[in-house]
């Protein structure tokens, strides 16, 4: 029982590392960016996912520094870091595969003379995003990411029913997630002022 409690404590300590809301902000802004691309820059839309993917690594480094200056530094056990590396590799593998498949589908598979937004089923991009956020929820064990996944699925269904542009469900979900991220971040900043030393 006590052993289980220590494992729980380790889990709680790890999950609490995401209380700052920056991961949520990254997801929300990425969805807004990709949704905007589908709505207003359709020629570039199939490639819009590249920018968040490229920014993920520098974002992670910057977030680490931000957290160290506010909530302090922690290094988790080798077992936890190995678990994180394996999950990240699975996430990136699935993400890249989904992005390439979508790209091939949109650029090669569509009928000549029809633009991608008209050709693609309205909820498809949001469903792919839901799959990726759902995978992130599973690997990070952050319950709120499961809610984001559900939100993206509902937005995808809504887009299919209303026959909107594929970018609309991403904009809706992105706006909600970004708003919630702002709440989390402001709470975190209030509770963790920048420190002079640690």
């Amino acid at each position: 029982m006590i052993k289980d409690r220590l494992a729980e404590l380790e889990d709680e300590t790890y999950v609490a590392r995401f209380d700052d809301g920056l991961l949520d902000l990254f997801i929300g802004v990425s969805l807004l960016w990709i949704g905007s691309a589908w709505l207003w820059f359709e020629d570039l839309a199939p490639f819009a996912g590249i920018l968040p993917a490229v920014l993920a690594a520098p974002f992670s480094t910057w977030r680490g520094r931000f957290l160290r200056d506010r909530g302090g530094h922690v290094r988790f056990s080798e077992a936890r870091r190995g678990w994180e590396r394996r999950n990240l590799a699975v996430f990136l593998g699935v993400g890249v595969t989904a992005a390439v498949l979508l790209l091939v589908l949109v650029t090669v598979g569509r009928e000549p003379g029809r633009d991608a937004a008209q050709w693609l089923a309205p909820g498809v991009i949001a469903l792919v995003a839901a799959m990726l956020v759902g995978l992130l929820a599973a690997v990070s064990r952050l319950p709120r990411l499961a809610w984001y996944t559900a939100l993206l699925i509902v937005a995808a269904i809504g887009a299919a029913v209303l026959a909107t542009n594929p970018g609309v469900p991403l904009l809706v979900a992105g706006a909600v997630i970004t708003g919630w991220a702002a709440v989390l971040l402001s709470r975190y900043l209030g509770a963790h002022p920048a420190r002079v030393g640690s």
């Binding site: 029982m1 909530g71 302090g72």
Partner: protein, 107 residues
């Protein structure tokens, strides 16, 4: 009238103290953590953390590394091998003690 058959406590008093127990269990589940992180997670005051960590360091349970990062002072704590062993021993002993109390209660 007889109370539960509680064994003579062999618990490590250094770890058994509630504030120090919080510190060592936190350090047990991570590799290392700095002062700010420990303060944030435990909610303890700076003075409390310093004095308890000093006692744990003197006992050889905690290793302390003081350095400067970006010209700011940083104190990093990690549980030593002796500290890790002490926590595991404490966990076994308190577990045994609690199960004896449970057994006595259900008799």
């Amino acid at each position: 009238m007889s109370g539960p058959d509680v064994p003579a406590s062999g618990l490590d008093r250094l770890i058994h103290e509630p504030a120090r127990l919080r510190l060592v269990t936190l350090l047990y589940v991570v590799d290392e953590a700095d002062f700010a992180y420990v303060a944030d997670r435990t909610g303890m005051t700076a003075g409390n953390i310093s004095s308890h960590m000093a006692r744990l360091e003197r006992a050889g349970y905690v290793e302390v590394d003081k350095s400067f990062v970006d010209r700011r002072p940083r104190t990093v704590y990690r549980l030593s091998a002796a500290g890790r062993t002490a926590v595991e021993r404490y966990r076994r002993e308190i577990g045994a003690l609690l199960s004896e109390v449970d057994d006595a209660g259900s008799r």
